[in-house]
Structures are given as structure tokens and as C-alpha cells.
């Protein structure tokens, strides 16, 4: 370890370790508790206490790291993990502003989600296990954002995948949950395979996994352009997998099969943030590959519009939120494609807070109405659950981009970044997407809370304090965090400059006004459709029935993948297995054995068993050999 490290840097590597320790403690105590105490439930609270303590300590340490970064600009420390011949693989952390921001987000959201989960998951059969995976998940994500080399990052990246697998499949006794977990792991795994190839390609060219060293070498132009491009593309595909970009988005809506707080965590802070973070972190080499940047932008744009359209027609509240997440992730990617790291990270944070809020709110909603998720079967719940309703509105409005909530600022920043890039077509389409996102946010916020209460929901009531307190905290932040974009005092020159000193805080009044107008139109439209029923939603959907049906069926992409997996890959696998058994095994292997057996059947008739045959053969053979011997001798 280097010696000139500040205290913040040392605090940073403790953060993931705390969660890791929590994971181990819970896992081992789970068995011990069962072993020593017949009544496990009495000690069930041990698990959340351990894991929340760890993450809370992490959150406190975050402030230490933040102060440090504000003053000293971060740094890195590492230790050797594996030395093989010329390759030295190190475990190390690297603290800069992006990673600090991410640590803050991850620890904070995890903390709130875990607290919330105490109430939400009470009485579950695997209560302790749930918190253990949470701790593991937090460890992985924190490691990921701190990693200073690509391999270590990949290490954490895969553990994030594992965490999501375990959490999505937490209720594994449900077939759909098991399938969703599998789908999430396999889909992201496809990205991971590409990511690993990209990382190793870069290693082959540079001889190091260290991110900043790779940047140095890449910037000096020592990497072959084609290889640089392909490895950057491969890394981006990895990011697409984790961040659910088109066409890898299919796993995210299915991930709803996990407990709702898990969705909040995955959508807001951990899993999907990883891809955006990776691209932001690797931005220096992305910038060396402008073609790939274009691809990033296009993929982001497609995802943004495409997921937005699906969010607009879904009926399941969690699915709407899921597609909205995909859509916003697309927006972040789009922004990253234009080089706007600061804006993308800022939106990641704002969106994370708001989305956590929305999911926890949705969870609170579902908790009190016996896990109903169809928004059309809800209604008028704002009176029954006022806190949930208000906080939900704040979150939705923030994502819709209503000033002065945080989403307004971040969206503004994103649009600015896109505009700077000079792609006006892209900018126009982005505006369309912004409009869409405001519209579906209006829909998801209005339908459950307005209108008349269905009969079966008459008994619904506000959730307990352990559930609504996190909601309130998140709502407050969601409203307030946007002001971080502005320069605050001397140490903090505004977000853009904080992340990248070359950038400066700027504002374009016409753009602000444009986005406000768009948002307002969308909200009014939503209000008139879903509350005033001026226009029937059904009529609109009948307008182009095929389009509606297509969108409702998720553009048939899920079906297509299912078909590819079931029909193509599995069939191919079965064919190979059949080939192995029939051709290689039965024909070649057993065939050669059988052909020997069959030829033995033919030749065995020479063994008559009669003395005569053997004797004659012997006599003639002996004479023949003697003659042969003479012939050879002469």
C-alpha cells in the first residue's frame, strides 16, 4: 500500500468490507442460531441489525470520504492478489468524485431499503437470508464503484449479478421468480462475457488491468485502433447487459418477481447503475472511439423511446416503473454517448432516489392492498394512504421533470449535454422521450390514487412508520437534491465542475422553458385522460390497435428471446447431445466395438471344435512355415 494516503481513502476500502463482514456474520449466525436456540424467530432481528449497522457505518464513512475528496482529490491504494509470470493482478480501490457520488447513492439507498425491508419482509421464512444477500449485494456494488482495475471491477460486477440472482429469486418457490432470476443472470451474463473479452483484450494490448494506466496507454495512442474500438464496444455491451439497454432490457421487468424493496434497490442504486457507472468510468477511452460513442448514443436513444412507449401501456404498476427505469437508463446512456458524464451521473443519482421512492411507495401500496399490482384495480387511494400518495407524487413529478424538483434539474442538464453534441435530430427525439416519460409518470401516479376506491380495497390503510419514514426521507431528498447542480459556496462549484473541472455550470433559459412546457402539456394530458376522462384511454389505444397490441406484448422481444433460447439454443444443445450419443458414442465408439463383435461372429466358424480341423490346419501350417522358411532363407 502506498503511504501518502489520506484518511478518507482508508475509510473508503472499509465501506465494502463492513458489508462483507455483515454478510459473513449473518450467514454463519443463521446456522448457529438454529443450532443453539430452538426458537429462531426470537433472534431473527439479529440479521437486519447487523446488516443495517454495517451499511449505516458505511454511510457515515461516506461523508469522511466525501470531505476528503473535496479537499484532496482522492487517490488509490492496492494490494497484490495474484501474480502469474508477467501478469500482476491487484486488488485496489480508487476514489474520485464519481465513485464518491456512487458510494453515497449506494449506501444511502441500501440503508433506506434495508430499514424499509424490516417492515416489509416481516415474518418471511428466510428473513435472515434476505438481509444477508442485501449485505452481499451492497458489498459487491460498493466494490464495483471503488475498483481501480478492470478485473477487480469485473469481479464485483459478477457478484452484483449473483446478488441480483439471489434477490430476484428470493421467493424461489414461485416458478416465475426462479425463471426471472435465471433470466436476469443469463441476460446480464451475455453482456458479462463480452465485458470479460473486452477487458482481456485491453490487457493483452496494455499489459495491465489498472484503469488509469490503461487510460494513459490508450491516450498515448499505443493501442491499435481496431482493437481499442472492439474492446470499447465489448465493454459497452457489458454495460448494456447490466443497465438493461435495448436489446438486453428483457430481464429488468421480470425482475419484479423479487420482493418490492429489492426492485427498489436494483433499479435505483445497485444493479442497473453499474452499467452507467462503467461507461462513465471508462469515458476517457470511450472518447477515443467516437464511432462507439455514436453507438452508445443510438442505443441509449432507442432504449429511451422504446421503453417509454412500453411504460405507457403496461397495467402492472411495477412493470410501468420498470420500463420507466429502462427508459431513464437509456436517457443516461444517450447522455453518456454525447460525453456528458456529469449530467448522466447526476441523473443516475436523482433517478435513483426518485425510483427508490416510487418503488418503496408502490411496495407500501401493494402491502396494504394485498399485493394487487394492476393499476386499474386501484383507485382513490390518496385518502386512505396520504403519506404514500404524497411521496409517490413527489417522486413521479421529479421524474417527470417538474420544477423545482430534482428531476427537472437533471433532465435539463441532460438535454443541455445532448444539445451541445449538436445532433439536432437526436435532440428532437429526446424531447419526444421527455414528453413520453412525463406522460407515463402522470398515468402511474394518477390512476391508483384518484378516482373511486374499488370495493375490495375499502379496508386499505396507511403502512407502519418503518415503511413510511424511508418514504418521507426519500421524498425530501427527491425534492431537494436537484439544487446540487447549482454552485454552492466556494468549495462546491456546482455539479458539472465538481465532476469534471473543465466543465462549468451553465443554464439555457429557453431550454428550461421548453422542457417545462413539454412536461406541463404531458401532465395536463394525463390529467385529462385519467382523471377527467375527457379522452378515453381505450379510444386512443383503439386508434392503432396493432401498435397498441405490439407494445403491450413488449414488441414481442421477450417472446423472440424465449423462442431463441427454447427453440434455437436448446434444440441445438439437444442436437449436439444427440449427435454425441448417436454419432460419436453409438456409431463410432460402440460401432467399432460391435463391428469387432460381428466380424468375430463371421470368423468364429473356423473354430469348428473338430479335432480334424485343428490337426489338418496344424499340419499344413507347420509344413507351410517350413517351406516359407526355406524360401526366405534362399
Amino acid at each position: 500500500m502506498d503511504s501518502n494516503n489520506t484518511i478518507g481513502l482508508h475509510a473508503a476500502w472499509v465501506i465494502p468490507l463492513l458489508s462483507a463482514a455483515a454478510f459473513l456474520i449473518i450467514v454463519f449466525s443463521m446456522r448457529l442460531v438454529g443450532f443453539f436456540f430452538s426458537d429462531r424467530n426470537k433472534l431473527a432481528m439479529l440479521a437486519p441489525i447487523v446488516s443495517i449497522t454495517a451499511i449505516l457505518a458505511g454511510f457515515i464513512l461516506f461523508w469522511l470520504v466525501l470531505l476528503d475528496v473535496l479537499n484532496f482529490d482522492g487517490g488509490s491504494i492496492s494490494m497484490a492478489w495474484l501474480i502469474v509470470g508477467p501478469a500482476e493482478i491487484r486488488w485496489g480501490i480508487f476514489v474520485d468524485k464519481i465513485s464518491v457520488a456512487m458510494i453515497g447513492l449506494v449506501t444511502f439507498i441500501s440503508l433506506l431499503v434495508q430499514v424499509y425491508s424490516i417492515g416489509y419482509m416481516k415474518g418471511d421464512r428466510h428473513f435472515e437470508w434476505y438481509f444477508a444477500i442485501h449485505a452481499l449485494f451492497a458489498t459487491a456494488m460498493l466494490t464495483l464503484v471503488l475498483a481501480d482495475n478492470l478485473l477487480f471491477l469485473y469481479f464485483a460486477w459478477e457478484l452484483v449479478g449473483l446478488g441480483s440472482y439471489l434477490l430476484i429469486g428470493f421467493w424461489w418457490e414461485k416458478r416465475s421468480a426462479a425463471e426471472a432470476a435465471k433470466k436476469a443472470f443469463i441476460t446480464t451474463r451475455i453482456g458479462d462475457v463480452c465485458l470479460l473479452i473486452g477487458i482481456i483484450l485491453l490487457f493483452r494490448e496494455t499489459g495491465t488491468f489498472n484503469i488509469s494506466e490503461i487510460f494513459h496507454i490508450a491516450e498515448s495512442g499505443e493501442i491499435n485502433n481496431a482493437i481499442l474500438n472492439s474492446s470499447v464496444l465489448l465493454i459497452f455491451i457489458g454495460a448494456m447487459g447490466k443497465s438493461a439497454q435495448f436489446p438486453f432490457h428483457v430481464w429488468l421487468p421480470d425482475a419484479m418477481e423479487g420482493p418490492t424493496p429489492v426492485s427498489a434497490l436494483i433499479h435505483a442504486a445497485t444493479m442497473v447503475a453499474a452499467g452507467v457507472y462503467l461507461v462513465a468510468r471508462m469515458m476517457p477511452i470511450f472518447e477515443l472511439a467516437p464511432e462507439i460513442m455514436l453507438i452508445v448514443m443510438i442505443i441509449g436513444l432507442i432504449t429511451f423511446i422504446f421503453a417509454g412507449s412500453m411504460a405507457l401501456v403496461m397495467n402492472d404498476i411495477k412493470k410501468i416503473l420498470a420500463y420507466s427505469t429502462i427508459s431513464h437508463l437509456g436517457l443516461m446512456m444517450l447522455c453518456l454517448g454525447t460525453g456528458g458524464v456529469a449530467a448522466a451521473i447526476f441523473h443516475l443519482i436523482v433517478h435513483g432516489i426518485a425510483k427508490a421512492l416510487l418503488f418503496l411507495g408502490a411496495g407500501s401500496l401493494m402491502h396494504s392492498i394485498s399485493n394487487e399490482t394492476n393499476i386499474w384495480k386501484m383507485g382513490g387511494l390518496r385518502h386512505r394512504m396520504p403519506i404514500t400518495a404524497v411521496t409517490f407524487f413527489i417522486g413521479a413529478a421529479s421524474l417527470a421533470g417538474l420544477p423545482p424538483l430534482a428531476g427537472f434539474f437533471s433532465k435539463d442538464e441532460l438535454l443541455l449535454s445532448v444539445l451541445h453534441d449538436g445532433q439536432y435530430v437526436v435532440f428532437a427525439i429526446t424531447l419526444l422521450g421527455v414528453f413520453l416519460s412525463a406522460l407515463y409518470m402522470a398515468r402511474v401516479a394518477i390512476v391508483p390514487f384518484f378516482g373511486s376506491v374499488p370495493k375490495n380495497l375499502a379496508q386499505s390503510h396507511e403502512s407502519g412508520s418503518i415503511i413510511w419514514v424511508p418514504l418521507v426521507i426519500l421524498a425530501t431528498l427527491s425534492a431537494g437534491v436537484g439544487f446540487l447542480i447549482l454552485p454552492l459556496g466556494s468549495t462546491y462549484p456546482g455539479w458539472a465542475e465538481f465532476i469534471n473541472p473543465k466543465h462549468h455550470f451553465e443554464i439555457k433559459p429557453w431550454l428550461m422553458i421548453l422542457s417545462i412546457i413539454l412536461t406541463l402539456i404531458a401532465l395536463i394530458l394525463g390529467w385529462s385522460i385519467y382523471v377527467k376522462k375527457l379522452v378515453s384511454a381505450k379510444q386512443i389505444s383503439q386508434f392503432i390497435p396493432y401498435l397498441h397490441k405490439t407494445i403491450l406484448n413488449k414488441y414481442y422481444i421477450d417472446d423472440f428471446y424465449q423462442w431463441v433460447i427454447d427453440k434455437c439454443i436448446l434444440t441445438f444443445g439437444r442436437l449436439v447431445a444427440l449427435f454425441d450419443r448417436v454419432v460419436i458414442n453409438d456409431t463410432v465408439v460402440d460401432g467399432s466395438a460391435i463391428s469387432i463383435y460381428l466380424s468375430a461372429l463371421k470368423t468364429r466358424v473356423f473354430q469348428t471344435g473338430y479335432l480334424f480341423t485343428y490337426g489338418a490346419a496344424m499340419a499344413i501350417g507347420a509344413s507351410g512355415l517350413t517351406i516359407l522358411w526355406w524360401v526366405l532363407l534362399d
Binding site: 508477467p86 459478477e158 449473483l162 443469463i186 483484450l201 449436439v576 447431445a577
Partner: protein, 517 residues
């Protein structure tokens, strides 16, 4: 301590033999005695083998714990002079982890075979013979004894599978235990014929009149000779390592074999093949290796992809694992074919990692099979509800298999990939894709068999009455699988001490190769 060290390997080989000999004299009826003796001796051997690894000094390098005993004086002749066949023992950085692997797998195998119903005594006698042979191969520095122990380890397999195995009817085809045993036997004997031919060829060609590997390594054989003999060696040992297309004995053998034998078979025996390729092929015939490496690499790549795809199409749990072994041994072959430090180290670590992982797989599948008498993926569903330990441990093995970081498989495969990318990037990409396919079949299997809703009616009809009280694995099986799981975790998280040792061995082999080229 020095005398102890110089006798250590001999003792490690001897203890199983003593075990086999002493079990013969214990009456059949004393099941407890037999089990306890087997467990104790197994434990002692495991401890000694771990000690052999831990005490191997990577600073000193070379062959350690070396000792030799003259076995047969060859008659003096003008060609070779006065020479002798010696029992020449010693381990280097490559065989040390293999010795430890054998120790661990063997001991866990004994723990897992407590449930064997019939002919306890004979089972353990043969098992110990097999183990002694395996230790002997890894510890021999003498081609003659390498072959001798190789045969010793191969032959008991036939009886172990043929007697204690299980036959299965797969509707469209039937695999009897006799078939599996016979096929395995014929394949391995075919392999050993090739090996024996090449050993004799090396012996004669060297003109030294000795079988000692270190002495032969200094010879520097003629290039043409190397080109001819290397494929023989590789094919002979490759059959044992599951080299495509000579792999079919392995899945069928697994399906037929009882748990402990499957563990040793996939965990250790297949490693004998890869080890032989390194020890005889690379060490003695470097030029041949250099020339034939692309072919070996190609076959290894086929192994990886083909094995993974075949595993995807299987319905039987043991077949899935059998083909996954084929696939994973492909990584070993690929790593060997890179002929560079990283790839070769990765291959050796993969041998270790796969040995432990697949042993874990077989313990767990053995438990499932014993409880439910089926291994059909289509029939089993949601069994995690009653088999928590089994599910968790299977998941650990599965995640190791698909290369999850933090588990041993990742480190090994990563090194193989890095090594591959230095020489053959395309093969590297295919290898990584193979790891992706592995994820698909493992996760499908886990989701199907362990997760989902358990149909209690089906479950009750499947479950053997003996286990209705405790369907989950019993303490012995748990102990066995937990030992393996912990080994996986240790190697995955702290590979440094392992790599130090492996690296010494690999560096020496590569240095000797570079020296002779």
C-alpha cells in the same frame, strides 16, 4: 524432520495400501470398524497430502521430498551400461497441488460413501488401491512407476463401477453399469497402450537406460522423434483427460459409477491425463509440444464448446455434470496448449479447481439420487424446499462451474483466458463464450430442479422411505461437501499461495522447454 520429509510421499502412497491390506483382515460384518478405519486412514492421508503441499517451498522450487529406491537392476549391457529401474518419488509445483487435490477428494469421497449398502469391505479395499495408484502417479518421477501407478489406479475402477454402480434406463437408451465400466476400462486401457508405447520409445531413444524423468528431460530428443511421439503421449493421456472425440467414456462412466467413484473419477482421475500431458509431453518432448500445440488447442476448444452444448441438451443430472467435466477439461487442455506461463498456470489451477468442484457436484447429486432414486431433470422440481443444504451446495458448485468471481473456477479460467489471448485470441473468445453457455445450462438446471413449486405428491412418491425423516443430506455428506465448498472459496478468494507454488512448477517446465528449443 528431514527423514520424515524424504519418506513423506512414500508414506502417502503406502497408507492407502496399508488400508487396503488391513481391511482385508476385518470381518465383513464389522461395518462400523471398516468405516472408521477407512475414515481415519483417509483423514491421515489427507492431512499428510495437505502438509506436502504446504511444506513445498516455492522459493527452493524443483523436485522436493525426493527419494529413490532401487527396484530392479537392469542387466549390464554395452548400450546402456549399468542401470536400474528406481522408485523415484518427488513433487514439484505442478504435482504438489494435485497431491493435495487427491487427498481432499479422496477423504471427502470416503465420507460420502458411508451410505454404501453392500460389500463395504471390498469397496474400500478397491477404493484404497485406486487412491494409492493416483498418489503414485502424481508423486512418481519415473516413467516406469508413473505407468505402474497409472494402471493401478485405472484397474480398480472397473470393479468399482461394475459392482457398486447403477444402471439407468433413459427410455430411448439404456446404460447399464457393466456397459459403463467396460467402456471406461477399454478406453483407459487403449490410452495406456499408447502411453506405454511412447514410454518405451522414449526409453529406447534416450539411450540412457533409465526411466527417470529428470534425467530424460535433459536428453533433448530428435525433432522428428518428438513430432511422432508427442501425439501418442497426448492421445494416450488425453483419453483420460476427456479429450474430444475420446470423451464418451467419461459421461457414461459417471452415470454408472457410485458417488465416491464418480468423485475420484472426475475429480482426480481425469486430472491424471492432463498431468501426464504436462509431465511427459511438455517436459520431455518440448518441440513436439510446440508443434502440436495448435491441434491440442483446437481439440480443447471443441471440448469446451461441445461439452457445454451437450450438457445443455441432457436430462440426467449426472450426464450434465459429466459433460460439464468434458467442457471444463477443455479449459485445461487449452491452457496447456498456450505454452505460456499464465495459460499453463491457469490450466494447473483449473485442474485443481475442477477437481474440487466436480467432486462437490457428485456428492450433492449422489445425495439427491439416493433419496429420490431419480436424476431426471424433468421429474425433479423445487426440491430445495426439503433439501436446503443440497441446494446451497449445488449452487456453489454450479456458480464455480460458470466462473463466478470469488470461487476457484473464476481464477483458473481467467488465467487460461489471459494466456489464450496472448497467443490465440480467437480461441480465447470461444472459451469465454463456452463459459457463457455453461451459465445457461447450470442456471437452467438449478432453476428447474431446485427452485419452483414443489409438488408434494410427486415428492412423496419419489422419496425413499428410509429418508422420510431427514431428506436433506446427513452429517457425513454435509461434512464432505462443506470441506469441498470451503476449499473452493479459499482458492477463489486467496489464490496467491496456490499460484506461488504452481508458478514455480510451471516456470521450471517452461524454462526447460525454452532451454531445449
Amino acid at each position: 524432520m528431514n527423514t520424515f520429509n524424504s519418506w513423506l510421499l512414500f508414506i502417502i502412497i503406502l497408507i492407502p495400501l496399508i488400508g487396503a491390506a488391513s481391511l482385508i483382515f476385518i470381518p465383513k460384518e464389522q461395518k462400523n470398524w471398516i468405516q472408521w478405519i477407512a475414515t481415519t486412514l483417509g483423514f491421515i492421508t489427507m492431512v499428510l497430502s495437505i502438509y506436502a503441499f504446504a511444506a513445498y517451498s516455492h522459493d527452493a522450487g524443483g523436485f522436493q521430498f525426493a527419494n529413490s529406491w532401487v527396484w530392479l537392476e537392469l542387466p549390464s549391457n554395452p548400450l546402456f551400461g549399468q542401470q536400474a529401474i528406481e522408485l523415484n518419488l518427488g513433487i514439484d509445483g505442478i504435482s504438489a497441488p494435485m497431491i493435495m487435490l487427491t487427498g481432499i477428494v479422496m477423504f471427502t469421497g470416503i465420507l460420502a460413501s458411508r451410505s454404501i449398502q453392500e460389500s463395504h469391505k471390498e469397496f474400500f479395499v478397491l477404493y484404497f488401491l485406486l487412491i494409492s495408484g493416483v498418489f503414485g502417479v502424481f508423486a512418481s518421477l519415473d516413467l516406469f512407476f508413473l505407468f505402474f501407478f497409472y494402471e493401478l489406479s485405472v484397474l480398480p475402477m472397473y470393479l468399482l463401477i461394475g459392482i457398486w454402480g447403477s444402471s439407468t434406463d433413459f427410455k430411448t437408451f439404456i446404460r447399464t453399469k457393466e456397459y459403463g465400466a467396460m467402456k471406461l476400462m477399454l478406453y483407459l486401457v487403449a490410452g495406456s497402450v499408447l502411453i506405454w508405447i511412447s514410454i518405451l520409445a522414449i526409453f529406447t531413444e534416450s539411450g540412457l537406460g533409465t526411466f527417470s524423468i529428470p534425467a530424460l528431460a535433459k536428453v533433448g530428443f530428435d525433432t522428428t522423434f518428438q513430432l511422432i511421439v508427442f501425439p501418442l503421449v497426448t492421445l494416450g493421456f488425453g483419453i483420460l483427460a476427456g479429450l474430444w472425440p475420446f470423451h464418451t467414456w467419461s459421461p457414461d462412466g459417471h452415470v454408472a459409477a457410485p458417488t465416491a467413484v464418480s468423485m475420484v473419477h472426475a475429480g482426480v482421475l481425469m486430472k491424471l491425463g492432463a498431468y501426464g500431458i504436462i509431465r511427459v509431453g511438455l517436459f520431455l518432448l518440448p518441440e513436439g509440444a510446440e508443434q502440436w500445440a495448435p491441434v491440442l488447442l483446437g481439440l480443447g476448444t471443441v471440448n469446451v464448446i461441445y461439452g457445454a452444448l451437450s450438457a445443455l441438451g441432457q436430462r440426467d443430472l449426472k450426464y450434465v455434470i459429466g459433460y460439464s467435466s468434458v467442457s471444463h477439461m477443455g479449459y485445461v487442455l487449452m491452457g496447456i496448449a498456450t505454452l505460456n506461463v499464465i495459460g499453463l498456470s491457469g490450466a494447473v489451477l483449473q485442474m485443481f479447481s475442477h477437481g474440487i468442484m466436480t467432486a462437490l457436484f457428485f456428492v450433492v447429486v449422489g445425495v439427491i439420487y439416493e433419496r429420490t432414486h431419480t436424476r431426471d431433470i424433468e421429474v425433479l422440481e423445487g426440491i430445495a424446499k426439503h433439501m436446503g443444504w443440497v441446494a446451497v451446495l449445488f449452487l456453489i458448485a454450479g456458480l464455480t462451474s460458470l466462473g463466478l468471481p470469488g470461487l476457484s473456477g473464476f481464477v483458473a479460467e481467467l488465467l487460461v483466458f489471459i494466456g489464450l489471448f496472448q497467443t490465440y485470441p480467437i480461441a480465447g473468445i470461444l472459451g469465454i463464450i463456452g463459459a457463457g453457455i455453461t451459465a445457461i445450462y447450470i442456471l437452467r438446471l438449478v432453476a428447474k430442479v431446485f427452485f419452483g413449486k414443489l409438488n408434494e405428491k410427486v415428492w412423496n412418491s419419489l422419496l425413499d422411505n428410509k429418508f422420510s425423516k431427514q431428506p436433506d443430506s446427513n452429517y457425513w455428506e454435509r461434512a464432505s461437501s462443506v470441506v469441498l465448498a470451503i476449499t473452493i472459496l479459499i482458492v477463489g478468494l486467496f489464490p496467491f499461495p496456490f499460484m506461488e507454488v504452481i508458478n514455480t512448477g510451471v516456470n521450471e517446465i517452461l524454462a526447460s522447454m525454452a532451454g531445449s528449443l
